[in-house]
């Protein structure tokens, strides 16, 4: 078989196109079966040839057959299971081609045509491989433009502001409803604030607030003193007679501080409205 191939095409032996062709052709069926079994074995072909070479392979074969008849003979004669081993052969041929293109040895016009076609197809492959990459970069750029950076920051800030203003306006509406529902209790404001509409009266009221606060503090101090007295008396009684504690303790406390408590109550009644107004004004 190999001899017939050599007899038919002696000139091909010189070219490195089929340097090991007779030996390899004999070995091809086993290797092809192996390659078919694990087509994705990337030890020999790191690039994804198996997937892309399969649709292209028939065309290359057809071109090879059309232009160079001897190769057909060699294939038919040499490899009985050529259909299975076509892929592997094509891969090997392409590899040899690459070496040829590097060395630049083209002896036959037919071979030159084949090389041209294959080079073109290689170019197609390259474009096919390169096509998705710029798409990815473009998509990432578009994503960056749309999702990140200054524009979205501005839009987010505007959204936040709009939401905040809306929430504040809704709060005002809700609180006005609440105040309207509380209106019978709020009627007391009519008495408190109906008189101080004018500005000087309002200023007077604001000046009178510190005095009211001072009186309130005095009452607080009085209360504290009274409670201290009561506590000391309580302790004395506790030390002397523990049995009379429950009966006489609270009674003595109320008796001692009755007058001060009454005063406190009066002062509180007098300054209640002003204190309430202060509490209302000191919202913060």
């Amino acid at each position: 078989m190999a001899f017939s191939y050599q007899e038919h095409h002696p000139f091909l032996l010189d070219s490195p196109y089929f340097p090991r062709s007779p030996a390899e052709m004999l070995l091809v069926p086993q290797q092809g079966a192996e390659m078919a079994n694990n087509a994705s074995s990337s030890s020999c072909f790191p690039y994804p040839y198996p997937s892309e070479a399969s649709p292209v392979a028939p065309a290359t074969d057809a071109g090879a057959y059309g232009t160079s008849a001897p190769s057909v003979d060699s294939h038919t004669v040499c490899s009985p299971v050529a259909s299975e081993t076509h892929d592997a052969e094509n891969k090997r041929k392409s590899r040899d081609e690459a070496s040829l293109m590097i060395t630049g040895e083209l002896k036959n016009t037919k071979e030159g045509e084949i090389k041209k076609q294959r080079r073109l197809r290689g170019g197609q492959k390259k474009t096919e491989e390169k096509k998705p990459k710029p798409n990815d970069s473009k998509g990432s750029k578009a994503c960056l433009d749309t999702t990140g950076g200054y524009v979205t920051g501005k839009a987010l800030m505007l959204d936040e502001i709009i939401n905040y203003v809306q929430s504040l306006q809704n709060q005002v509406e809700f609180l006005s409803m609440k105040i309207a529902s509380l209106s019978p209790i709020l009627y007391g404001f009519n008495v408190d604030f109906g008189d101080c509409i004018d500005q000087p009266q309002f200023q007077k009221l604001m000046r009178s607030i510190p005095e009211a606060m001072a009186s309130a503090e005095q009452t607080n101090q009085l209360q504290a003193k009274a409670f201290g007295n009561g506590a000391t008396g309580y302790r004395v009684m506790d030390n002397s007679t523990p049995l009379l504690l429950q009966v006489k303790g609270p009674a003595s406390f109320s008796h001692q501080d009755g007058g001060s408590a009454l005063q406190v109550g009066e002062q509180r009644q007098g300054s209640l409205d002003q204190v309430g107004f202060i509490n209302m004004c000191s919202f913060q």
Partner: protein
């Protein structure tokens, strides 16, 4: 507590509040008394609407006439029937008319802030900041009123 325009607060520990807040509270409470005086027997919804209008009016009055939003708010609140005249006046006062053909993301904000339809972006943001400040003060005031008068207070 003791701070006023003439006597600055000698005690830095007590919370300070400026005259604008005081005036805001005073105006709002006066408006509340007016509401209760003029319409004592009105329905709850009508009273709430009046109180809301009073709140916005007191806010605008306390902010002063310098702010465009307060002017626009007062125009909207008090001159319902003369809104066109008011708009013409505000435009004549120097607020440039924005071309309505271009759409921007700030249109939502223009709709919310009173008087924001005739503003450029920078002045819109300024007015929005001031409006938010006054609105938050008003909300705090109303919340304190509700807390002090409601079932939890006093």
């Amino acid at each position: 507590m003791k701070s006023s325009t003439r006597n600055p607060n000698p005690n830095p520990d007590t919370p300070r509040f400026g005259p604008s807040k005081l005036m805001l509270a005073f105006r709002f409470l006066r408006a509340l008394t007016l509401v209760h005086r003029t319409a004592p027997n009105s329905s709850n919804a009508a009273r709430s609407r009046r109180i809301q209008r009073a709140a916005f009016a007191s806010m605008a009055y306390s902010a002063g006439p310098r702010r465009a939003w307060s002017r626009a708010l007062l125009c909207r609140l008090h001159f319902h029937r003369a809104r066109r005249r008011c708009a013409r006046r505000s435009r004549a006062a120097g607020v440039p008319r924005r071309p309505s053909t271009t759409r921007s993301p700030a249109d939502g904000l223009r709709r919310l802030v009173p008087g924001g339809t005739g503003m450029d972006y920078c002045s819109l943001l300024e007015e929005t900041a001031d409006y938010i400040r006054c609105l938050s003060e008003q909300v705090k005031l109303m919340q304190s009123i509700v807390d002090s008068v409601g079932p939890g207070g006093r």
